[in-house]
Structures are given as C-alpha cells and as structure tokens.
Amino acid sequence: MSAVTADKTERQHWMAVLARASRPDIATLIGPSIPDHEVLKAPETGTVMVEGRAGGAGRRFNLGEATVTRCVVRLADGMIGFSYALGRDAGKARLAAILDARLQREEATSPLRRAVDDLAARQSAARELASRKAAATKVDFFTLVRGA
C-alpha cells in the first residue's frame, strides 16, 4: 500500500510511488532534460532476503530472496537522492534517485510534487479497480441441511 499514512513520511511515500512506477512513468516525471548529477553509487542489482512470519504474526523466517536495484546520485545543488526498488531496472533506478533528490527541495504544491501525487492517484486507482474486480467474485455459500 502506498497510501499516505500517519506512520509514513512524505519522502517514504514518494519513494514507494517511484518504486512502483514504470520506467516510462518516471521518465515523464523527470521531463525532457535530465538534471546534472553525479552518480555516487552506480545502479546495482542485488537481492533482499524477504522475511515472513510463521502464522502471519509469529516467528520470523526466510521466505526467499527478491531482486532489488539501488542507486545513489548527487545533484549540482548538493542534494543526495536514493532509489531502492524491486526488479533489475538500472535506468529506472538512476532516474528515480534523481527524482528523490529533487523532491526533497520541492514545496508540496510544486508541479513535480503534484505530478507525483497524480501518479500515486493512478496507482491507487489501479489497486481499487483490482479490488472491485475481486469483489465481483464475492460469494455467499448456503449450508444445505440434510434430512430437514
């Protein structure tokens, strides 16, 4: 869930939105000219061991790994941006890190922040549609009493 919740900072929220975005979505956000930046940590693909809990709430256990790609950049103004997302898309990682750096200086009403909000709204609309489609398969089972 990427909805803004009380326990999440604005930065955590936009990083979640960017992690879920496709590379074209991110390229659109960044616009035609990529700002000058220094790549502090080149896009690197590795894994994160995904942990579950027995019974959903009990003892932690290792479910298996997932591929993750990360990148760190610094803009000309000194802002440092990070990107961490599932998958192996190095191009997306670099652009998302640039966006993370830019977003830290942006006011909440700036065009870029609004564009991220729009993207977040599209992501939640997709999630809601999936939920509505699932709701169409909601059933009531009747118990048939034998010998009544």
């Binding site: 990070f82 709701a135 059933v139």
Partner: protein, 398 residues
C-alpha cells in the same frame, strides 16, 4: 568414488547447438517471448520463483524459456544466477494482514468479516478443454457457466448468436473489498481456541539455510524456509500422506489468501524503511485438531504456508507438512515421514535432489570397471570352489 573424465569438447559444443534447435522447435511457428511467458504462464513462473528461491517474474520467465519449460531446470538457473548477486540485507517481516486481496476463502467460516472472495480460481471450472484458446474465433467456455452442465440456466442462456452461455451478471461496479481483512485463525485466537502464534522473546533474526549448515532437530524457521524453496510435488505428496493417515491430521483450511504485499527494507545509509514495491503472495492457514496435553488445554493448532506468486497447492501442502513437523512440540509420536524434519528437509530441495539423481548419468566408467572386475573375480572363485567340492549343497549356501 567418482573419477572424472576428459575430452568430448567437440561433442559437447555440438549438443549445445542441438539444445538450441530443440528449444526453438519448428521455425515456422513464431518464437515465444519472455514477456508472453511472464504474463500468460504466470503460475509456472510462480513455481520457478519459489523453487528457485528468487522473486523476479522476468527472470523466471526467461528461465522457463531457456529450459524449454522444465521447471526444475529453470529453478536451477534461478539459483545459479542468485549466487552472482550481492545481498543488500533482509526485508522487514512481511505483513500479510495488509495484503491487497484478490482471493480469500475459508473452509471453516461461511460468513467471515470481509467475506469470501473467490478471485481467479480453477476450483469451479469444469476441466473441459477450452478450444477457443486453440482457435481464436471460437467462444470461450471460461466465460459463464457451461450449458452442458449448468442445467436450466445454461439452456435458457442461448442468445441470438446461438452461443448458449450466460455472461456473468456483475457490471464491474462492485464496491472495493474491505481494506482490512482479519486472518481467520486470529478470529479463533480471540476466543483462545487457537494455538497462539507469537514471536519468540526478542524477535530473533531467522536462521538462513543458504548461509549456515542445518542441524537437527531443526527449528520452525529453518523448516519453513526449506519448505518455501522445496519441491511442490514432494510437499504435495507428503501433505497427502498426512491426510491419508500417515501423520494423523485431517485439517481445515482456515484461510487461503492471495494478493499483493509491500516489501519494506531499511537501508543502513537511510535508516528508515523504504517500500520497495509489491510482491504477489499466497498464504495458507490450516486449522488442525489437537486433543491437548498435560500442560496445554485442548485447542486448535496451526499449519502455515507462504509462497511467492499465486501458488495455492504449494502453500497448502507446506501448511500440512508444517503442522506434521510440529509433532515434537506437541509431544506426538513422529512415526511417519512427514513428521520427521530430517527426512523432509534433506529431501525437499529439488535442485539438490535432481543433481544427485541425475549425476548417475554422467560417466562412471572407472567405478563401473572396478565393480565389473570384482564380480568377475567372485564368480571365478565360486566356480573354482564348486568344482573342488562337488558333493556340497550349493542351495543352502546361497
């Protein structure tokens, strides 16, 4: 002892060419793309991700393409690739209570908070071939009830085009599902009738069998990790054996849920949790009877299964065997294979199993020559002995 051989380079290079040809099949048929496999063979990809122990649907699809659909070979490719990647760390434990549900069913409660959501399932299909998938012009039997088996409804459903099928009545405008769907065992837990599932003191880091050797008896975190990457067929067989009496549990499906869950990771350099995106998971909570013991009042006990992707059979089998492997904790006799952790954990990994079984086809010329010499010598000696003592009774000696 295995003695290696050398040579055969030219033949091996040629076999790689034959593999490429066999994989491609008839060149007149269009080649399948990795994206097509990822989107249209998602259940196979899920199995490869589970047994390859790496969540990446693109790589799973590539592995299936490269392995010509051989799931175990594909899992092997995933495992091999994984070893080339650095590990950044471990995620925060997944919170399956916050799953974006696409399917959620319970066999224990008819009316449960949040409702029964069938989602995409083959459970209620007739297992009739859908020839529309072969001939793109034909109507699909997967849309609406089949007229040959659905009685009055189906018969009256013949429309002007002669297609006797009923379209679903939903208009796609259903309200979304409840944001919070309680896990079914927690409902029983609230009454105190269910074995509680609480993290041990200090919420310790789980054991990782990919980095440390396993010892026995194995704790539950080790067992769950081994089963999560274990072979679906092996666990299915063991789960089935439990149901049939080789393990003494006949449980209920408390809940199966399928959907998307966020993965959170705390990078050291940031110090806060970053949401990496969502993965699809299947979770199964099995509810088992337990008579109780001297220290524990009668209550239901749990079996737990969790798997990548939509993998119900895997999650269900895992939860059956998870419960069976708790025999020791509940003071039950571990008489059957599914209850013996050493047996289950040493034989569930299909990449290891396939490696050991399939190594038998590699050259064993030196070993076999040794055995051949031995058996010839024993036979010569036996013949010499029989010739020297013609009056003994050879039958008794055999």
């Amino acid at each position: 002892m295995y003695v290696a051989v050398k040579g055969g380079e030219a033949a091996i290079l040629a076999t790689h060419e034959r593999v490429a040809e066999a994989r491609r099949g008839d060149a007149a048929v269009p080649e399948i793309s990795v994206a097509q496999i990822r989107e249209q063979q998602a259940l196979a990809c899920a199995r490869v991700m589970n047994e390859g122990s790496l969540y990446d649907a693109d790589l799973a699809a590539l592995a299936l393409k490269q392995a010509q659909g051989d799931v175990i070979e594909a899992a092997f490719l995933m495992r091999a690739y994984r070893t080339t990647l650095p590990r950044f760390g471990s995620s925060e434990p997944l919170d399956t209570a916050k799953m974006a549900i696409r399917r959620r069913v319970s066999a224990t409660y008819k009316d449960l908070p949040g409702g029964q959501v069938l989602g995409p399932t083959y459970d209620y299909t007739h297992r009739l071939f859908d020839f529309a998938l072969m001939d793109e012009g034909a109507p699909s039997v997967m849309v609406g009830p089949d007229p040959t088996t659905s009685g009055r409804e189906g018969a009256s459903g013949a429309n002007a085009s002669g297609v006797a099928r009923v379209e679903p009545e939903h208009d796609g405008l259903h309200a979304p599902l409840d944001a919070h769907m309680p896990r079914v065992p927690d409902i029983l837990g609230a009454e105190g009738l269910m074995e509680p599932e609480i993290a041990p003191e200090g919420d310790p880091r789980p054991f990782d069998l990919t980095r440390e050797p396993v010892s026995f008896p194995a704790d539950r975190d080790v067992r769950l990790q081994a089963m999560a990457r274990g072979d679906e067929g092996f666990l299915l067989g063991l789960g089935y054996s439990v149901q049939r009496g080789f393990g003494g549990n006949h449980p209920f499906v408390g809940e199966i849920r399928v959907g998307e869950v966020s993965v959170e990771f705390v990078p050291e350099e940031l110090g806060f949790a970053v949401d990496l995106g969502e993965i699809t998971l299947t979770e199964c909570q099995m509810v088992n009877q337990f008579a109780g013991s001297k220290d524990v009042p009668p209550q239901f006990t749990r079996g737990y299964g969790l798997a990548f992707g939509h993998s119900e059979r895997k999650a269900m089998s895992m939860s059956l065997v998870d419960r069976a492997l708790k025999a020791r904790e509940f003071g039950e006799a571990a008489e059957y294979p599914a209850q013996q952790d050493e047996f289950v954990l040493y034989h569930s990994d299909n990449v290891e199993a396939a490696g050991f079984v399939e190594h038998l086809k590699l050259p064993h010329y030196v070993d076999f020559q040794g055995e051949l010499e031995l058996i010839r010598r024993i036979r010569r000696e036996r013949e010499a002995r029989l010739a020297a003592e013609p009056e003994t009774l050879p039958e008794a000696a055999e």
